[in-house]
């Protein structure tokens, strides 16, 4: 309920945030706060300092950059869900953003926070992984771009250095067939298992939520579809290479079953 004591600093710019993060190895970035603050209130997370980037004005945008669509890291889920550029050109991102949590969460939570938190149960990371998104990070030595496939390294861990700020997410234009299947107990819950399927380069990319320590790609399914398999037989490979959790929402065994059902349904929808 009441977090352990911490310092608070508000960054006016990305540069200032980077510098503040460099000054304290136990500092954490505060954006929408919808993952960090609940953990702090339970005293599971005890950062020494919060660097609040929530008021950096120029990090909230969605724009068509020609090749890709660029999404500012501070864009709220609500704004991502309602961005026309995404709804038209990469609808799975807009749709998935609209499925996160509840309206209050979507008005506060940010896409950057969702990505940087590295939660394998988060909705957007596996969508972005399926899309081969790129993430732009700014640190003391300037900016760099990290491919989604290299970004999620372990449970709640990403390729971001402690003094780097995620500033932008770039997604391809993908308005062919797609499907987003989120199986959850309650509307505001994390997915027990989530599946995103997007048609790309003549095949299908499939991202999996909550099937391992990181968001995953269902490589076996993608290969099978590429080889001409029908959805049911491709989906039989959906749990290959996964390590699903065992928790109150479902056993690993159940998730292995569920992911096959959801992938089959997602493929049927995306390829229809």
């Amino acid at each position: 309920m009441i977090p352990a004591p911490f310092d608070y600093a508000r960054a006016g710019s990305v540069e200032e945030a980077v510098s503040l993060l460099g000054s304290d190895p136990d500092a954490k970035i505060l954006a929408g706060g919808h993952s960090l603050l609940p953990a702090m209130r339970l005293r599971i997370a005890r950062p020494s300092m919060l660097v609040d980037i929530g008021r950096i004005a120029d990090l909230s945008y969605v724009r068509d950059d020609g090749e890709r669509i660029a999404i500012g890291a501070l864009s709220r889920h609500h704004d991502v869900g309602n961005a026309e550029a995404l709804q038209e050109l990469c609808p799975i991102v807009a749709h998935a953003a609209g499925q996160i949590g509840d309206p209050q969460v979507r008005h506060m939570g940010t896409i950057g926070g969702s990505v940087a938190h590295g939660d394998p149960a988060g909705d957007l990371p596996s969508v972005l992984l399926a899309l081969d998104a790129e993430f732009v990070a700014q640190g003391p030595k300037g900016t760099r771009t990290v491919a989604a496939t290299d970004f999620f390294t372990s449970l709640f861990e990403t390729a971001l250095a402690p003094d780097e700020v995620l500033t932008e997410i770039r997604v391809p234009k993908a308005n062919g067939g797609w499907s987003f299947m989120k199986f959850q107990r309650r509307a505001q819950d994390w997915a027990v298992v989530g599946v995103s399927a997007v048609r790309a380069n003549g095949g299908v990319h499939v991202g999996l939520t909550n099937m391992g320590l990181t968001p995953l790609r269902a490589a076996g399914v993608e290969e099978a579809v590429g080889g001409g398999a029908d959805p049911a037989s491709a989906a039989a490979r959906a749990d290959e290479g996964t390590a699903p959790p065992d928790d109150a929402f479902g056993s690993a065994e159940y998730r292995r079953h569920l992911v096959k059902v959801l992938v089959r349904r997602a493929l049927e929808e995306a390829l229809a």
């Binding site: 309920m1 509840d102 509307a187 989906a235 109150a248 159940y254």
Partner: protein, 804 residues
């Protein structure tokens, strides 16, 4: 003279809502006092351990800390336990802080007092406990087994109580009847989750030794009696229940924190406040359910019940709270349901475990009973090859309007059960649904349809004091009402009930308005303060209207008797010439010659010309002790769609037909049914407190403990139009606070099982999570609960036997 429609029976808008929905309500956390300090409890990092040392110096040195106290520092008496249900019950003694041994995660070992709340919480983290960990047991069967780790060495066993109903009728039928159903049902623990956690504030006038406890409680009157020992004298203690944000039984208790706040306020001479954190609430506030039943039904080949037998193991938790072993016993009187068997048996054993104490949770014993009766009735229906609605119909007790003995040994006040079942089946469109179900089965649809039907009876309106006494409960079951008719025309009602969301302000005003011929808006209902309204037994067990509400009726009779004397005097007629009509005493044959209660209140107040022997002021008090319980009944129907691939069950229709006797306010009744059914759906499909092997609660927050939201709760059709008056009281009321929670869990689970019965599924545990449903399908169709595969929908080829 215009006849006015009675207010009773009208959906009058709730008076209490404007404050509640505009943030103006005053919960205990809204209270603050000059010089107030905050309390934080030190909860242990163990669930079972002997305490070797408690180190408090580091915490005591933290900023703002006023003191750190252990059991040895405070030397408080044991916490109250008021329901020793048998002569030989073993009672674990519980102190507000534990000094020798930790027996569950909420068993606080120390309390920190600091100037600010966060200082107290920060310092509490620094109290270190050296303890020797012991093996923990949270499973009831394991705890009851020989060689289990003992919670209380001095008791010599974990099976601390054995209550036997004693039975009725020929007990051999459970072996000799033509049809015997034997089933075992597990009902997991539930966490009540009132939206407002517990909290209290103790303050006083030390020089006068006068103390006040403001507490988020359902039972200020019982708290006052049971905690008076903490400050030395009952006359010096006042307990206030301010606006209370729900209870569901979890605030029908007297807690360690209340005793500690009072003791520390007295010791420190400063107001002491405590507000529970939600994560604390999950381990330190009582849980509900946590029972296991072995059921035997004896019937003839037609499915007509001959006998009903239930043997239960009930999880008490680490200690008894106020009522703990009394909860299964309360259920012990309704195991016949609305049926009419000739033989009856019920017994339970209470088992202590290294888990949070259990106690009342909405329905308290009756949902547990109704669940196992109604689950087994469906098994009986399948066994005799009959529709589940039909099996219930042939077993329903015949209608009766006067108290009638039932096989459980108590008399039921009134009942007319079959029309309730008819109504529910009609509202849901039962026959059409069965056709649709058959079509989906034939088509091998992925989404299969299931229908659950429940008929139930419950026992509420707690309670006749003499019966409570016979059941060895320490308190009575009466309630009080004091009415004052003020010269301004306003009426003050002081009720002994203590609402925490039920709408008593509104419903009680409707009763007064009809009885005294005043507008409900002129009635102010005062409650929840032992100084303002000292005569009461509070709110729980759907008792408020059928005890406290009836007390109002008797107080009004006294008011009207006095008013009639005054009116006759003023109108210069004999009292026999007056009749009460249209809100006034009127002269027979000359109805315009009349006196209203507000007019008489003025006369009684100025007292200029009262008849001889009549005391000034129009006021009266009545204390009412019911002669019987009240027995609501009803029929619920649930329709689910089950995704046979994922196991997800969606409720697509829910029908609740409940007969709660006279309805005071249909809108409030409907709200109670909605809330109760929602809570029962939660129990059936979502909620379950889970402990791991070493005794940790893994569902320790609202993210893991699944309370459904409005999105998950379906539209409900309610019907309360059948109002069979209770023969227990002159209002004819029965109570509706718990009916929804009692009837709905088996209705939902039976619907889920029904959806899958053609696949050979006969049982799905509670809560019917998608995984449980999926495993049940796997087990039925492949013979193994864990084998994956079979991605296709359920096909007719997989079907096997079973009707319904």
């Amino acid at each position: 003279m215009v006849a006015t429609e009675p207010f009773v029976g009208r959906p009058v808008l709730r008076k209490e809502d404007p404050e509640l929905i505009t943030g103006e309500a005053q919960y205990v956390d809204n209270w603050t006092m000059p010089g107030m300090v905050w309390m934080a409890l030190v909860r242990p990092p163990y669930v079972h351990a002997t305490i070797d040392a408690i180190e408090t110096a580091e915490a005591a040195a933290m900023p703002g800390v006023v003191g750190v106290f252990t059991a040895a520092d405070l030397e408080l008496g044991a916490l109250p336990f008021v329901w020793p249900i048998t002569e030989d019950i073993k009672v674990p003694v519980r102190y507000p802080l534990t000094g020798d041994k930790i027996r569950f995660a909420g068993d606080a070992v120390a309390v920190v007092v600091a100037e600010r709340r966060e200082q107290a919480i920060d310092a509490a983290e620094l109290v270190s406990i050296t303890a020797t960990e012991l093996p923990a047991v949270t499973d009831i069967e394991k705890a009851a087994a020989d060689g289990a780790p003992l919670l209380h060495d001095e008791l010599g066993t974990n099976v601390t109580v054995h209550w036997v109903h004693g039975g009725a009728g020929d007990q051999s039928v459970f072996e000799t009847a033509p049809v015997i159903v034997t089933e075992r049902y597990v009902q997991p623990r539930l966490i009540p989750n009132a939206i407002e956690p517990r909290g209290c504030l103790a303050y006083g006038v030390p020089a006068m030794n006068e103390w006040t406890l403001v507490s988020a409680t359902q039972i200020p009157h019982i708290v006052k009696v049971t905690l008076s020992g903490v400050i030395g004298s009952e006359k010096n203690l006042r307990v206030i229940a301010p606006d209370v944000g729900g209870g569901f039984g979890s605030k029908l208790n007297v807690y360690a924190e209340e005793a500690l706040a009072l003791a520390l306020a007295k010791r420190l001479g400063r107001p002491v406040k405590w507000i529970e954190e939600r994560s604390e609430n999950y381990v330190a506030t009582t849980h509900g359910r946590g029972v296991l039943h072995d059921v035997t039904l004896a019937a003839d080949e037609q499915g007509k019940l001959i006998g009903m037998k239930f043997v239960e193991l009930a999880d008490m938790g680490a200690y008894y709270q106020l009522l703990t072993p009394g909860i299964p016993e309360l259920g012990g009187w309704v195991y016949m349901g609305p049926y009419d068997p000739q033989s009856y048996w019920y017994e339970f054993r209470g088992v202590v475990t290294n888990a949070t104490p259990t106690d009342a949770y909405r329905g308290a014993g009756r949902p547990e009973a109704t669940y196992v009766i109604e689950r087994a009735m469906d098994v009986l229906a399948r066994k005799v090859g009959k529709d589940p609605a039909e099996v219930r119909r042939i077993n329903l007790h015949a209608p009766f309007l006067e108290a009638t003995p039932f096989i459980c040994g108590l008399s039921v006040d009134s009942g007319n059960f079959e029309p309730l079942l008819d109504k529910a089946l009609e509202l849901v469109g039962y026959e059409q649904l069965r056709k649709e179900q058959a079509a989906r089965r034939d088509a091998g649809d992925v989404r299969q349809l299931g229908i659950g039907v429940t008929t139930y009876i419950e026992m509420c309106g707690l309670a006749p004091s003499n019966i409570l006494g016979a059941l060895r409960y320490a308190a009575g079951g009466w309630d009080g009402a004091t009415i004052e008719c003020l010269p301004s025309g306003e009426v003050i009602l002081k009720t002994g009930t203590s609402p925490h969301g039920q709408g008593h302000d509104t419903a009680w005003s409707q009763i007064v308005a009809d009885g005294l011929g005043v507008d409900p808006d002129k009635v102010t209902v005062l409650h929840g303060d032992t100084q303002v309204s000292p005569l009461g037994m509070d709110t729980y067990g759907s008792r408020s209207v059928s005890v406290g509400g009836v007390a109002i009726l008797f107080a009004m009779e006294k008011i009207k008797e006095k008013a009639r004397t005054i009116a006759a005097h003023e109108l210069e007629v004999s009292e026999d010439d007056l009749a009460w009509a249209d809100g006034a005493y009127r002269v027979s044959g000359a109805p315009d010659k009349a006196r209203t209660i507000p007019e008489i209140a003025v006369s009684a107040w100025h007292a200029h010309a009262l008849p001889d022997g009549v005391e000034p002021h129009l006021n009266a008090t009545a204390v009412y002790d019911p002669k019987n319980f009240t027995w609501p009944a009803g029929a619920h129907v649930c329709v689910v769609e089950v995704d046979t691939e994922t196991g997800a069950a969606d409720i697509i229709q829910y029908i609740a037909v409940d007969d709660c006797g006279t309805v005071i306010n249909p809108m409030i009744v409907e709200g109670q049914v909605h809330g109760g059914v929602a809570q029962g759906i939660a129990e059936a499909l979502y909620e379950e407190a889970i402990y791991d092997e070493v005794g940790n609660l893994t569902t320790s927050s609202m993210s893991q403990y699944l309370i459904p939201s409005a999105v998950e709760i379906p539209h409900m059709t309610t019907d309360n139009s059948q109002e069979t008056p209770s023969s227990t009281n002159p209002l004819g009321v029965k109570g509706i606070g718990e009916a929804g929670t009692i009837a709905s869990p088996p209705t939902v689970i039976n619907a889920v099982v029904d959806a899958l019965s053609h696949l050979g599924v006969t049982e799905v545990g509670k809560p019917a999570s998608p995984e449980r449903v999926w495993r049940a399908i796997q087990e039925a169709t492949t013979g193994s609960p864990g084998v994956s595969g079979g991605l296709g929908g359920a096909t007719p080829a997989q079907q096997e036997g079973g009707t319904a």
